[in-house]
Symmetry: C2
Subunit: 386 residues, 2 copies
């Protein structure tokens, strides 16, 4: 139930969410956007300024009619550091992220090929401790993004398809015990979606899908400004939705999964079949460059574009989200590829009153995911329902 004190908490969360959705804002603007008053906003932000979460930026210039200059509020780059971790089959990345999204003290650590569960755990905790030491400040929490299926309630990695050594690892507990800082676990693509919502191309958008296309395909969904999680963190396995019932067998055992058609391996295979030079190591950006002067490469690229758009169009049909943010390989492929995917997705989905499907490119590196991992902590610690 929402008592007066809970109402205060909800309103504080609303203010913070409004800041994340719009960037630095002065008090009167916050009041306007939240439908509140300057007095109430002042009452809310004063303790946050005292705590060091927020700070006042340089005063804006007054308008032509004069008046006291407004001082925009934004998250302090000094206070409120949060740990962020991305655990993938090949290794772990750690960083410290401030509430404003500044990423510092990034470290990377690779897993050897023959590593066992103990070795993985040791490398993960060591990397985090090193990052904490480099940051030199106490963290408010650690957010962990994992490539694979997770149990968000238990904080356990259920199944990391490409790294079975992680299966069943209670990673949140392990990290929390080792560092003494509360840890929160979620799927990497869901963290990525949070990163887009707070600090990326999804800022200010109410609903979108954040899609990763690389060695595998995954997605996180933002509906009405909040992250969608299935039961105990299920869902988001869009790469293993069947789009070609009689297609090739996937490593998951089913036939015609989307990622069998549109992942990096499929690209290599198509390039090799077309006899393109260096097919086995060709990346999407390279294919785009090659396609401008090689018709065979152009056909491979067109096919891949269609296959990416096919899955996007399916999501559009089912969910009705209007925006898709592509991370991974497409992020480095440039504007022509983005436009081609967008056109193909529009052709494959119905026209909606919500307007045509938009496709934008995200980041090729993992910064969105690291920021999203940090956002897992911000969500819990600040009681904001992202």
């Amino acid at each position: 139930m929402v008592s007066a004190s809970l109402a205060g908490e909800l309103n504080r969360a609303r203010v913070l969410k409004t800041l994340y959705a719009n960037g630095p804002l002065p008090r009167p603007e916050l009041a306007r956007l939240t439908g509140s008053t300057r007095a109430t906003i002042g009452q809310i932000v004063t303790p946050l300024l005292d705590d060091g979460l927020l700070e006042e930026l340089e005063p804006l210039a007054s308008g032509v009619q004069g008046g006291k200059p407004a001082r925009p509020l934004w998250f302090s780059d000094n206070g409120w550091p949060v740990g962020a971790m991305l655990v993938l089959p090949q290794g772990v990345k750690t960083a410290v992220v401030t509430a404003g999204g500044r990423v510092t003290a990034v470290t990377s650590s690779s897993f050897p090929a023959d590593v066992d569960a103990d070795g993985v755990t040791r490398r993960i905790t060591t990397a985090m401790r090193r990052t904490m030491a480099r940051a030199g400040v106490a963290l408010h929490g650690i957010g962990i993004a994992v490539g694979g299926m997770v149990d968000t309630e238990a904080g356990v990695v259920v199944r990391a398809g490409l790294a079975p050594v992680l299966d069943g690892l209670p990673l949140a507990q392990v990290v929390q015990a080792d560092t003494g800082v509360p840890a929160h676990l979620d799927q990497d693509t869901r963290a990525q979606a949070l990163g887009d919502l707070l600090f990326g191309a999804g800022r200010g958008e109410s609903s979108f899908a954040s899609v990763y296309v690389g060695a595998g395909i995954g997605a996180g969904f933002i509906f009405d400004g909040a992250l969608h999680r299935g039961a105990r963190g299920a869902g988001g396995e869009v790469g293993h939705a069947v789009v070609d019932r009689d297609g090739p067998v996937c490593r998951c055992g089913r036939r015609g999964c989307w990622e069998m058609l549109a992942n990096r391996h499929a690209l290599h295979a198509a390039a090799a079949a077309a006899g393109l030079p260096g097919a086995a190591t060709l990346d999407l950006a390279g294919l785009v460059a090659l396609a401008s002067r090689d018709a065979a490469a152009g056909r491979v690229l067109a096919g891949y574009t269609e296959d990416v758009a096919l899955g996007i169009a399916n999501l559009q049909q089912v969910l009705g989200v209007g925006l898709f943010i592509l991370h991974g390989d497409p992020a480095g492929a440039g504007e022509p590829f983005r436009a081609a995917v967008e056109v193909a997705a529009r052709e494959r989905a119905f026209a909606h009153p919500g307007g045509p499907t938009r496709v934008v490119l995200g980041t090729a590196d993992d910064v969105a995911t690291l920021r999203g991992a940090a956002a897992l902590v911000l969500s819990k610690a600040l009681h904001v329902a992202f």
Copy 2:
């Protein structure tokens, strides 16, 4: 922002939602489930009892330790009547539904084959006026469920695939102007999902999909106890998600849409191809009966089962919902068919920490949809976010 008065409204909504999710409840139980106190619950429900929305049922027996008997609260069957309407290509159904879900004064009206937009409008408004007259009471609003794509903000039918005569019709406005009662419009499968949530198999569930399988395929999604709508009411077109990239051409122009494989027409075609008797008019229940003594019919049924499960498994993979409620043809097909779909869906989707996929049968008639249409009104009028 949530002021004290808005907090009161939210808490009132929370109490009503708790009632819908649990059925009749006495005040102490409501307090327990909402984390509130008996005093606060009393303060909230007293005006609702005075308004005639709620009423006190017969006192329960005291416990073994004695004590004053508790009187459960539930929605009055006399007060708060709401209009419900289901507009389909072949005709319109209207009814009056109470806040407790009792459906009365049902009427049906078919559209002639050569009807024009004016004729459709006239038949719809006439049916509603007749139902209102039969009910003999003033309605608090009218909920309209339409088979087709709608613009929920504008209250306009965007595209009714099987009934182009409805395209572009501002149905909410038309009905509101004709009856003088506020009207709310949404897609039929979304209304169906609301009906399941409040009065059907989805009661008390936080997330599920309500799927209709018949001449077409559609679905409505409940996430965290609330209906999912895409941008301006987009989405839910699960029947036109591609599951067989190189499959047969659908009437929408794409290839291999789910509903090309698993709708009623596909069933007839498969039955005809197998040489089953009466294939052109065979319904699913009939096929189930036939399959028990005819191996060829068994193979047709098995194929259809797999095709239905294929789309369900895809939804499970993407969304992570754990429960699927099947309406339309499967609703009348009986337990063996339900179990077969469930098994097939489980085999086609990953195992999740949220537990195995459950499939249950809904109603073959349209009562869930009519109740859901009424719930559109209840949601607005009672300020409850379903």
